[in-house]
């Protein structure tokens, strides 16, 4: 190894602001909505989380790639972010259990990463100006061309993306002799949700995003699950229809993140695009039933309307986000239905909220 001289790279935001950085050795260009994640661990889980589809990720942790990558620690079969912006990229990793470097992982997945950007300045900028589309590129002499291409990238608001990451065909997860059968609608499901359910004696059939309630019901499940996923929940009419039917029949239902938003929409509560979203593994949530706090893993750019939720006759707010009082969880008063905006499956992040999976299984038992 010797001194590693690297080429220039840049981030161009849709409002024309440029942040300069360096290439990590790849060349290319990538587009997406720019968002930031404040986790200090768990980069591989984040990059492979389907909820990030279509987004260029700014990692705020000062170093990325220190412990390489490990095949089992993925949340889907590939990198789902459209590109990475970081401060220091580790070309050398250290972990006995790892099987590859992060650089090779990006190259294998054909995803672009750039480094040496003032990520802190970029995050402050997003915080002040809101999430927006951006391009990252090593083609630093073609700014006008990049601007033109960037203008053609659609806005995240109103964008349906679940179809891009959902399974095409149904599949099964877990032990087929398990006690409970759960039908999961895949809007971009993270693997660790399936692992968490399977660990609790459940056998899961995962359905494509456009499956109907009837198709799911035909398998004769004990409970239903609506998964996390990318994009705006509003265009997901099929999923909302599924949720409505489950609710009508008062069947056990649990929703996470996008699934939570779908359940809210199915109840007539609107959703909105947040200024810059919640993405990190240190988000404080209060469980209003127990009065206890939880440190949670979060990743969402949309949220459900708080006033509409508060005044809804059938719904009560079960969890709130302590930093900004947004709705973090809801529960239907007379139904076997609940959902959370955050990620009890963690991966990455704390395990404080894994009790929600136990609660779901309890709900199934007591149906």
């Amino acid at each position: 190894m010797k001194y590693n001289k690297r080429d220039k790279a840049l981030v161009l935001l849709s409002d024309g602001t440029i942040f300069y950085g360096k290439s990590i050795g790849q060349s290319g260009t990538a587009f997406g909505e720019v968002c930031f994640n404040t986790g200090t661990t768990g980069y591989q889980e984040i990059f492979t989380d389907p909820s990030y589809f279509g987004q260029i990720m700014v990692a705020t942790n000062a170093h990325i790639g220190n412990y390489g990558t490990k095949e089992e620690e993925v949340e889907s079969d590939s990198i789902k972010i459209s590109g990475l912006i970081c401060k220091n990229f580790s070309f050398n990793y250290s972990r006995e259990a790892a099987d590859d470097s992060l650089k090779n992982f990006f190259e294998k997945n054909n995803v672009l990463a750039i480094s040496d950007v003032d990520t802190r300045a970029l995050v402050s900028y997003i915080r002040e100006n809101g999430a927006m589309n951006a391009v990252i590129s090593t083609d630093v002499d073609n700014i006008e061309g990049l601007k033109e291409q960037l203008a053609k990238v659609p806005e995240m608001n109103g964008l349906e993306l679940a179809s891009k990451v959902s399974t095409k065909e149904p599949y099964y997860f877990g032990d087929e002799n398990a006690t409970y059968r759960i039908a999961a609608l895949d809007l971009g499901i993270k693997k660790n949700i399936l692992r968490n359910l399977a660990k609790r004696d459940a056998y899961i059939k995962v359905f494509p995003y456009n499956a109907t309630f009837e198709e799911m019901n035909e398998w004769n499940p004990d409970g239903y699950f609506l998964s996390n996923g990318p994009g705006d929940p509003e265009p997901l009419e099929g999923a909302q229809a599924v949720a409505k039917k489950i609710i009508e029949r008062n069947l056990p239902l649990f929703g996470i993140c996008l699934g939570h938003q779908v359940i809210a929409l199915a109840n007539g509560i609107s959703t909105y695009k947040m200024h810059n979203g919640h993405r990190g593994i240190n988000h404080p949530v209060k469980n209003l039933a127990t009065g206890k706090g939880e440190i949670t893993s979060q990743n969402h750019g949309f949220a459900i309307n708080r006033e509409e939720t508060e005044s809804h006759p059938d719904i009560e707010i079960s969890h709130v986000h302590l930093n900004d009082n947004t709705v973090a969880g809801i529960k239907m008063k007379s139904k076997n239905v609940f959902s959370v905006q955050y990620h009890p499956e963690a991966s990455p992040g704390p395990h404080d909220s894994s009790y929600l999976f136990d609660q779901f299984i309890e709900n199934i038992k007591n149906k």
Binding site: T38, E96, I281
Partner: protein, 950 residues
């Protein structure tokens, strides 16, 4: 109001004098606790015997007791304040916890109806009694290294036979790993086992299988009464298991921990904290992780109190652990409190970092001649520095620049080792310089795999070192004229000092600085905000870095700088850097008061310091805190940015004072006494001329640069002769010699270790009495704030002497000479601010030993004893806001105050405990006596010659 309405009056126990393993971090935590409780309208009563602390200021608590930390004192306080509802013992280290247990065992808390808050007795007992702790961990399924307890020598031998070597021996109920050792070899076992048993107050040691080379981590936890637990910080030790965490280089956040491993560790930590007891407060948990693919995690220990690491974690994250822990102790829950930095988000969260923090301990082995300098299970460091950067490399460089050991960073200063065997030896036996030796090893071509095999330091860190080495080589291919912007920026981003780059480019430091300016490579300042910029922060806590640029739509290209300069008049206070023997907490006390007094005068105050244990680096103290090395380049850049009216150097000890010359040269105003006067006092030749002109006696002296010169001088001066190098701290290298042989030996030795230094030879006034005076001078008038007489005769460093305020047996005639000399010298030196003068008194004549126109070690002591804020007054004088005559001095002291030095010799078993002109004590305590008939005084007086070296 607090959630617990029954708590209205709280007793806080301080940590007492500074010793190795328990330093000024507890002044920081205690100060925060007091402020936090008072915010809630709670009456605070404090006990601490350490006068050099901010926490013992009369304004800090409702009642301050400067009493010995004994149950007798506790009873006295509880008698005088029957209203005390609760005691908070978690802010004063192990000392406070131990006193709390003792009082509990004696039934004192019960008798006076005092509730224990912040921890419970069972938790203290369980975590300190290693046998109980091990049983509990086994019960809750938390793995530990194979361990067994021995309460006898025989039992210890049996255990060793069972486990095999290497083994660790740890004494129960001790501090900073006292009595702990790794035994590699059966031959050493007996001795180390006996010592471990002896040191333990309950004659008990834990023997465990040594997990050498396992990676070591620390987590800082907070829990409230609702059982909400948050992890404030995760710290990774770069030095793996086998070196005490207080002696390890540590990094935050963890650098080489995957999320899966970290979350398992987090779960274990929370589980452990919940299992040891039901209390609201802070905890520190230590873990080891196997460096193989299994990533096994085992628990090492848990401390149910704030610690050195929680002080570090508070500074590293911006989350004030002690402040919040105090609120939790009085019944608040985390979700009711707000984040102290953002002021808008919740305190129930886990801080996240977008920078890297590196802590390096500061050792003082040179003070303990003959000491074992190898690092191990027992802490030996006397202080520490912390540095913040946007990468590990930058933070590591800044930390090495903060140490004040004449290094400019890693490599590129021509000071590295080049001998293969020496390097291998130094890698194997880790000591103060291993952080530098790793770089030397890479430079010499020793493979990383070999360095890893010897040190067990994770390869990620070693690779980071290697990258630095490659960068140094690359830069060395250029000259100042040919180096490109990108490469120079990269060097600065990785923390290289201008001096180092100058070394690589073979040019001057000033040329590198000029080239940087020309290429627009400027230091920018970023905020420590607990949240990686996710939320807007309100707190002005900054560190420097270098960043790539941003270009706005109108073509403006810049690097983002978050430190916005106000148009107020400003003053910078230079801090005292890492604690070391001779320069400790006293100077932090002075800096804090300097800041507060400047603020009272309407200045915007700016603090620069790099010591995480201090109150001065609490972001609530100054208007702006720059957590930066007290290193020329960093200071100069801050001055360029802030453009203050001037810089206060006389409060930060020798560290700040040493920078005066350069500040003066660069035309920066020094507030108070000018550089010319500071230099005059330091220069023996000119200073003695000044004394002569003023008819003030001083011991005969001369200056030598060679052994020959020294011997010639000795013919003129009579033996005994005091030999010392000039410009040193705490009497380093000072010795009294009685004949030519000794003189020659010492001079040769000094010139070898400190080449190119001038040596001062004084005629030593044998059997003289020593005294010192501190005064405030505004250039026209002088007020002597206190005169202290040493109990031991002349020859023992003033920092190591017991001393009384006021003097106990100096006659009127002598006292008048002291006063006259002090006034004359202060005026002759044009002092503006504080001055300390040391005297030797023989045959009723008062001789001047030295004068230091700056805050001295004794100023805080005198301020406490007399109950007057002298540093505040002196600062106002320095700033020209007040004259000495403007103050109404009214010192209050009945009887005498005795300053008693405290030593940490138990950490260095083989070191000679003899005292001499070189300072060895690590801390001090204050004792008030009504009269000289007091037993304590009598004891000190009668023992005064015991430790004196010839």
């Amino acid at each position: 109001m607090p959630k617990n309405k029954n708590i209205n009056s709280v007793l806080i126990i301080g940590s007492g004098p500074i010793v190795i393993g328990q330093a000024c971090e507890f002044d920081y935590s205690g100060t925060q606790a007091l402020r936090s409780l008072r915010e809630d309208g709670i009456e605070t009563i404090l006990i601490n015997s350490n006068p050099a602390t901010i926490m013992t200021d009369p304004t800090m608590a409702d009642h301050v007791y400067l009493l010995p930390l004994t149950t007798k004192s506790i009873i006295k306080i509880l008698e005088e304040h029957p209203q005390i509802d609760a005691v908070l013992p978690t802010m004063g280290g192990q000392t406070a916890l131990n006193l709390c247990i003792e009082a509990d065992e004696k039934g004192i808390w019960e008798e006076y109806n005092v509730e224990l808050i912040g921890v419970d007795i069972d938790a203290i007992n369980i975590t300190e009694d290693r046998e109980q702790f091990r049983d509990l961990m086994a019960k809750i399924g938390v793995p530990m290294a194979p361990q067994a307890t021995a309460t006898s020598f025989l039992k210890g031998k049996e255990i060793a036979q069972e486990f095999g070597f290497p083994l660790c021996i740890r004494s129960s109920f001790t501090l900073g790993g006292a009595g702990a050792a790794i035994v590699y070899d059966e031959a050493d076992f007996d001795e180390l086992l006996s010592r471990g048993l002896e040191i333990s107050p309950i004659h008990e040691v834990m023997i465990d299988k040594a997990l050498l080379g396992w990676k070591e981590y620390e987590l800082e936890l907070l829990r409230d009464k609702n059982d909400n637990v948050v992890i404030i910080c995760t710290i990774e030790n770069m030095d793996p298991m086998g070196i005490h965490t207080g002696d390890s280089i540590t990094v935050a956040p963890a650098m080489t921990l995957s999320d899966t491993a970290f979350q398992r560790m987090r779960d274990m930590a929370i589980h452990m904290m919940r299992s040891i007891g039901d209390f609201a407060g802070g905890c520190n948990v230590q873990f080891a992780v196997s460096p193989d693919e299994k990533e096994d995690i085992i628990a090492i220990e848990i401390n149910p109190r704030v610690s050195r690491s929680s002080a570090l974690a508070s500074k590293a994250t911006g989350y004030p652990i002690a402040k919040v822990a105090s609120k939790l102790a009085i019944g608040y829950t985390l979700d009711e409190l707000s984040n102290q930095i953002t002021k808008s988000t919740s305190a129930l969260f886990e801080p996240t970092l977008d920078y890297v923090v590196v802590k390096i301990p500061r050792w003082n082995f040179d003070k303990f001649e003959g000491s074992d300098r190898t690092l191990g299970l027992q802490m030996k460091a006397v202080g520490e520095v912390m540095a913040i950067g946007r990468s590990f490399q930058e933070a590591l460089h800044k930390a090495t620049q903060s140490l004040e050991i004449k290094r400019n960073g890693l490599g590129a200063d021509g000071k590295g080792y080049k001998n293969y065997d020496q390097i291998i030896d130094k890698l194997t036996h880790a000591s103060w310089d291993r952080v530098f030796v790793i770089y030397d090893a890479i430079q010499l071509g020793i493979p990383l795999s070999r360095i890893h095999e010897i040190t067990k330091i994770d390869m990620w860190f070693l690779k980071q070192y290697e990258e630095l080495y490659h960068l140094e080589k690359e830069i060395s291919n250029y000259t100042i004229d040919t180096i490109e912007r990108d490469l120079l920026l990269e060097a600065k981003q990785k923390g290289y000092g201008d001096r180092q780059i100058a070394h690589m480019l073979k040019c001057l430091e000033s040329e590198v600085h000029a080239r940087r300016e020309e290429l627009n490579i400027k230091r920018v300042y970023k905020l420590v905000d607990t949240c990686a910029a996710e939320f807007k922060a309100q707190t002005p806590y900054y560190y420097s870095t270098f960043e790539n640029s941003v270009e706005t739509t109108d073509g403006n290209v810049y690097s983002e700088n978050e430190s916005v300069v106000s148009d107020k008049k400003k003053v910078i206070v230079l801090g005292s850097g890492p604690n070391r023997i001779g320069q400790g907490i006293e100077f932090d006390y002075c800096c804090v008061h300097g800041v507060l007094a400047s603020a009272e005068c309407g200045y915007e105050t700016i603090m620069i310091n790099c010591n995480p244990e201090t109150v001065s680096t609490d972001f609530d103290i100054a208007d702006k805190l720059y957590f930066e090395p007290v290193f020329w380049e960093h200071i100069y850049d801050i001055i360029q940015h802030e453009k203050p009216e001037g810089v206060i150097v006389q409060l930060g000890g020798q560290t700040a004072l040493k920078l005066a010359e350069k500040l003066d040269r660069y035309g920066i105003k020094i507030i108070g006494t000018s550089f010319k006067s500071l230099d005059l006092a330091e220069d023996r030749g000119s200073f003695s001329t000044l004394l002569k002109e003023n008819n003030i006696p001083y011991p005969q002296f001369d200056v030598a640069t060679t052994a020959d010169e020294a011997l010639a001088i000795s013919d003129v001066l009579d033996f005994p002769i005091l030999v010392r190098p000039s410009y040193v701290l705490g009497g380093q290298g000072m010795k009294i010699v009685i004949n030519r042989n000794e003189l020659e030996e010492h001079v040769v030795d000094l010139l070898r270790t400190m080449p190119d230094n001038k040596l001062l030879l004084d005629h030593y006034l044998d059997g003289a009495i020593e005294a010192e005076a501190d005064a405030i001078c505004d250039g026209e008038n002088v007020y002597i704030i206190g005169i202290m007489e040493h109990i031991e005769p002349c020859g023992i460093h003033s920092g190591d002497s017991n001393a009384t305020l006021p003097p106990f047996n100096l006659g009127e005639f002598v006292m008048q000479q002291i006063k006259d000399h002090t006034k004359k010298i202060a005026l002759a030196l044009n002092t503006v601010g504080l001055i300390n003068i040391q005297f030797a008194i023989k045959d009723d004549t008062v001789y001047i030993i030295e004068a230091n126109p700056r805050a001295s070690r004794t100023v805080p002591f005198i301020a406490k004893a007399y109950g007057e804020p002298y540093v505040n007054f002196a600062t106002k004088v320095m700033l020209g806001e007040k004259k000495v005559t403007d103050f109404d001095f009214n010192p209050q002291l009945e009887g005498y105050a005795i300053k008693q030095p405290v030593f940490s010799f138990n950490k260095f078993p083989k070191v000679n405990k003899k005292l001499g002109p070189e300072m060895k004590s690590t801390g001090e305590s204050i004792l008030f006596i009504d009269s000289l008939k007091d037993d304590e005084f009598y004891n000190l007086y009668s023992r005064r010659k015991m430790y004196l070296s010839k």
